[in-house]
Structure formats: C-alpha cells, structure tokens
Symmetry: D2
Subunit: 166 residues, 4 copies
C-alpha cells in the first residue's frame, strides 16, 4: 500500500533477562518481555488503580540484538521503537494461535537503554552503553561519507541558509 506507517513506541521495563536465540544463518534473535503501566484515579470510587501491559518484543536487527544481549537485563528500562506484527502459529494440538509482537527489524527501529550506567549500581564503568540504533551513521551535519547511506554533506551552495526562516 502506498503511504502507510506502522510504528510502536514503548518506554518500559524488562520483566526478565533477554532471551537470545541463534539462527541457522549465524544471526541472533532476541526476545524481550517489556512492561508498561499506567495509573489513574478511578473517578467513581476515587481509588488508585493500576494496569500493567506486557509486550512481546522481537529483535531481528543485528546491531540492536547485540546491544540487547550485552546491556539489557531484568529490570532495565528501555525506549523501544518498532513495528506491530501479528504471527499465526499452531500449538501442539494443531490449533491456530495468533501472537502480536513489536518487531525491531530494519531501518526504522530503535532500542535505547534509559537507566544510567548499567542499571542500578551507579559505579560508572566507562564503556557503558549509550543507546543504539540501526547503524553507526547517526552523524551530525559535518563529515564526509560517500558510501550507501551517506549523509552529513558539505554544502556547495552557500545561499541555502540565508533566507530563513522562510
């Protein structure tokens, strides 16, 4: 279809350590179980209520899978950006089942660790993780870059900035 968008954004905590599985081609797939919660005050009873939602997150992206395996663990707080996908499968008795997942695959995915230097000890380790994305070319505007997915060009035209705001 022309012009569609399928995006999920989650900020939540891992309910368990990442589940890492190897694939036949040598790659890895990482499954995460991520909780989001919301609280609100019931307008009738006035009592505090809470609802927790568990999300199944599947990471196919090579770089993000590596990050997940290396830096995430039970309790980690993460920012996740992926796509909604529903999969059909059969259980042992041959029954059709459906599973809807947040899939991180390809360019428009993101996984960023949100708790400081590890996730609890605060003894900063140097090295630590500072977010990861699809590739290393997040770049600023300066710098070369002539390979596929190059960006951050040096301008030829000088006038471009003269007329702003437009």
């Amino acid at each position: 279809m022309a012009g569609s968008v399928n995006k999920v954004i989650l900020v939540g905590n891992l309910g368990a350590d990442p589940d890492v599985r190897s694939m036949s081609n040598g790659g890895k797939v990482v499954n995460l179980s991520v909780a989001t919660s919301e609280r609100w005050k019931d307008r009738n009873s006035g009592e505090q209520r809470e609802r927790t939602e568990w999300h199944r997150v599947v990471i196919f992206s090579e770089g993000l899978a590596r990050v997940a395996e290396s830096y995430l663990k039970k309790g980690s707080k993460v920012y996740i950006e992926g796509q909604l996908q529903t999969r059909k499968w059969q259980d042992q008795s041959g029954q059709d089942k459906y599973s809807t997942e947040v899939v991180l695959q390809g360019f428009n995915s993101n996984l960023t660790l949100l708790d400081g230097r590890g996730d609890g000890d605060s003894s900063g380790d140097g090295g630590g993780f500072r977010g990861a994305r699809q590739g290393d070319n997040a770049g600023g505007r300066s710098g070369g870059g002539q390979r596929p997915a190059a960006n951050a060009p040096a301008f030829e035209s000088g006038g471009m900035d003269d007329d702003i705001p437009f």
Copy 2:
C-alpha cells in the same frame, strides 16, 4: 511502574466500514480494521515483495468514536494514535484466546482522516471531515478553558469481544 509509555502510530486504510456497537450506558464503541503495507525489493531474488499487516483498532473515546462513525468508511486512509493492549477471552469451547488491539481511549489518542474529500471519488457528502481529536480544546495559546473533553465511557456490553481475532 514509574515512567512508561505505550504508543502506537498507524497510517493505513480501512479494510471495511467501521463496526459500531452500542454500550449499555448509551455510549458507542467502534472497531476498525486497518491495513498497513510495506514493499521492498528482495535482496536475493531482486523481486518486488509486499507484506500487509492488519490491525484491530478499538475506539472507546467518545469524540473519536463519533468521528469514526460519521466520516470513515471502507478504504479511508487514517492516522491513528493509540495504545497497545492485549485482551484475554474465551472462545465457545472455553479455550483461552488473546487478542492484541490498538486502543483509542483517553487523552493520548488521535484519529485523523487523511484523504481529502471523501476517499478519492470525491463525490463525498459535502462538508467532509477535517480531523478529530480528544475534545475541542486543541486551541492556540490564548483562551479560557472550562469544558474539556470527556472520555472513557462506562459500558458493560458483553458481546463486543466475541469475534476476535477478525
């Protein structure tokens, strides 16, 4: 949990007219079936491929439900912002089933029609729809504000969930 976010953003087309159901309290719930697709060129075969994903969208928000009922129809292109929720239910044989939906309810939801004057045939109804949100207070920076939008209706209809996944 402190500090979590649960957000889904879709741009896609309705696969069918909105399914409107009345609730016992007089409110309405609208179910949408929304398709998103993506195309890519297979890197091995080089052939064009396409994958369509179908999303079950449930609108509890009063204002957005009214909009959906009034302006959307099969084929409509929409921008949708809601939350991921998975519901457990039992089929006729008592088997547990799970259904994951994009729920529009409360303040952080949005529904915007993206095709101009109808959906292409332009014959339309005159008037047409120009986007809707939770309430009427989108406002600029000035203005008072004492009649905000209501949402989150009470309902107890049991039948609503019986036919999923669709």
Copy 3:
C-alpha cells in the same frame, strides 16, 4: 487543514531546574531546557563524535506544569511529547526574532519522569513521581468519567518570552 499531525517526542535530560512563571490568571507556565545527544563513529576518521541538541520546552498544560514544578530538576531524565511551534518576537532593538519550541498544551501532550527514585534500587519510593499526563482519565476500560482535565489556560504575562533562545 484537514488531517495534519504535529508531534515531537523527546527523551533527554534537563539542563537546569524548571523555570516556573505565574500568569495573570493564576496559572503557571513552565519552561524546560532539555538536552538530547547522539554519538556516532565518524566513517572517515573513525573517531568517536557526539552532538548535543538543546530543546526549549514550554508547558502550558495545567497538570503537566504542576508535575514539572514538583518533580523535575536539573539532570532529570524525561519523556516529552508535544507540538512544534515557532514564535516571532522582537528583541530590545526591535529586531524580529524567531523561537521554535516544543509546546505541551492540550490533550496530546505528555510528560513522564524516567528516573525512578534514583535509578535502580527499588527500595522505598518516598512519594516519588510516576508519570503524568493530561488529566486523570488514563484509565482502564471501565469507569465513568465526568471530570476531565482542563488545559489551555489564559494568560497575558509579557515577560515570558524575553530570553530566548536560551
């Protein structure tokens, strides 16, 4: 215009304590300075690079302003969802200036504190903050709903805009 969307999502840290200003109508406006950074490895030199972006965030929403004032401080990590707005103003010499801000106002805004009570120990909370949104009706599917959130306050304070860009 029919069918438009204007949304900014930030996860970053406050560069300073929130700047709270009272308006003539008794409401408050809170200004935040939020940093986001990205790192990447330069593809030519191979060296590590970093770029920090500073965002001016303006909170008109009553509930979110209260939250910002109560729970945020220099260094706080926040999730922010608002709208892009560019304002024109004149400096002392009468020169036209433009300032682009992320505005939190109305239903489709969000402000969530992302550093729990520290960032990892799970001991007592001492009150702590668990996210805030436009109103109290985040709710689950049940519940009534007749006291929605107010927003979009009137104000006429002129001084608020004098010191930008910060």
Copy 4:
C-alpha cells in the same frame, strides 16, 4: 548523553515545490516547507479558529532526497519523521540567527507520500510513488539477506513461538 531520543512526526502539506540543491560531493539536499494546521472552537467566543504552523524540513538522506525530488510537489500531503535540530548562522549584517529544522538524515527518518495519485488532479503518471524509506530492507520475516543490515532470518530453534503469550 546516554539514552536520548529526538523525534519529530509531521503529517502536513507542502507549501511549495521541493527546493533541491546540489552539494559539492555530488549529493543533494532537499528543503521542504510543510504546513500543519489545527482547528478548534474557541470556548469563550464559540467561534471557529485555526492555526497553521510552518515547518522547515531538510532532507540529507540520499534515498529520501531522491524521493522528494521525484514525487513531491506543492500541495502534496506527506508523513515525515525526522529530528529536531537548531542551527546558528549569521545574516548579512553579521547578526547571529537561529533556525530550527526537522532534519531527515540517517536511519531513523521517514518520508511517505500520503496522497494517492498525485494530489487531487489525479492526472497521474502511472507508476506513481509508494512511500520510501532509508534503504530497501524493510523486509518481512522470510528471505535471505546476509549483507550488513540483514534481517528476516530463518529460525533454527523451532520452539520460540510455543510459549506465547509469555
């Protein structure tokens, strides 16, 4: 900074044809002027109000620039995903100026055309545009792929799906 997110999502219309500029390295930069509007009913006067916001969008991403140049024109409706960046520059008199832009560069950007066959005149060219993103690897789950940014693996482990929902 560890763990930050800087994302802008716009759905709006071009106020003018794309402005394409060549760079010294042979690449192109495309500037767009995108309008978003919102309407609301003033709660005091009851009158209909509208506010239009103009966004300066700068496309450094090679693929997206090509798409913009080829398929967008004045009036086109687009979905845009990029980053907020503020640039400092000097006008002719040496005065410091700031310009805040939505930058499309690198992996986490998106540009999708939202109006079907052109933008209303429907004179269409055959072929037409169907959305574009950073790369061609949007892929589904099946298929090969062993180059950098490969995804869509074939599983070795068969059990992965058996235990859902988890």
